[in-house]
Symmetry: C2
Subunit: 196 residues, 2 copies
């Protein structure tokens, strides 16, 4: 195969979930399309790395600092929702169910991967809390081992400040059929059952 | 979401089989990785469109013209395998079962998509055959309606030249369980059954 195609495939397989076959399909797609597609994509890749930075307040990805959400006067400054990554923030924003601010940790505690408290944006969160004016911290880290450990760690750190700490509820997904729910989730749903 | 991220996602969804969610995951991957990744990928995209062209002999994708395969003295010049696209050629090359030359049509006849004989590289194939020195043309177009129609069309064109024309066999895949083979393939396997 021509060297430039091999090099493109070599780069494309670095995307998560993209194997050799998919990368080949992507590369041939680029070759089939007009040169404009390759150029626009190349420019978008360069731009995203040059122009996007972390918001100095909430650590979200943004072009302007502070980010539009931190500048939005309609968002409640007294509630901070802590997420692991920008995609979790995006998922929550899509629900339109939350009107407070965010804090993006950019990771979760994971001793096995050598990710400790200093490797994620915990110091930035504590600094925000020290400035006062926050009534509630919603821990919205993932419901896996790392996310739960991070939530527990943050709870211990924040508890002494007296700020209210909450965690997203976990249980059976809405529309979920009990028959197909894994045992761990079902156990959690029992433990966390609500009084009606 | 920051504009540069949106623009990158907008470009990424143009890849075949990539939806909004996958594009978002790819974009965040680019943001997480070092800037080198975005730069190398951008350069590879530009290079592939600038440096890769069609071989003037076989229409394969190549950096040099004629392509390395057409220049390879060890490849049998008397057999030409006709494929629809570069990925089919790649798949055949991986088998190491074929030592002749290729001809890449870059498409298949498809009246519904307005793709006629002049839209694919049929003229280039006929010109090669006119130059003589070809004993056999292996029609390796896909086993779908368009591929079969293209094979039939080429057969009618080439037949008068007296050149031997063959078509890849179709039937039950090796390792295939009869229970799971579709009826059309099974019918074909009956029709094309071999004497033992």
């Amino acid at each position: 195969m021509a060297k430039p195609i091999e090099r493109l495939i070599h780069e494309l397989v670095k995307f998560p979930g993209v194997g050799e076959k998919t990368a080949v399909r992507f590369a041939f797609h680029v070759l089939r399309e007009q040169a404009d597609f390759a150029k626009s994509l190349a420019q978008a890749l360069i731009d995203v790395k040059e122009r996007v930075r972390l918001c100095s307040t909430c650590c979200a990805l943004t072009e302007d600092d502070p980010c539009p959400l931190c500048r939005d006067p309609k968002r409640d400054t007294r509630v901070i929702c802590v997420v692991e990554d920008p995609s979790a923030m995006l998922a929550i924003e899509k629900t339109h169910a939350y009107r407070g601010r965010y804090h993006v940790l950019h990771g979760a505690l994971s001793p096995l991967d050598n990710i400790g408290p200093d490797d994620i944006r915990i110091a930035e969160l504590l600094r925000r809390l020290e400035q006062g004016n926050v009534d509630e911290v919603v821990l919205a880290t993932d419901m896996n081992v790392e996310g739960e450990a991070t939530a527990l760690y943050l709870t211990r750190l924040i508890k002494p400040t007296g700020i209210k700490i909450t965690r997203l509820s976990s249980g059976i997904p809405v529309g979920g059929d009990l028959e197909y729910i894994d045992a761990t989730t079902l156990t959690r749903a029992f433990e966390d059952r609500r009084a009606l």
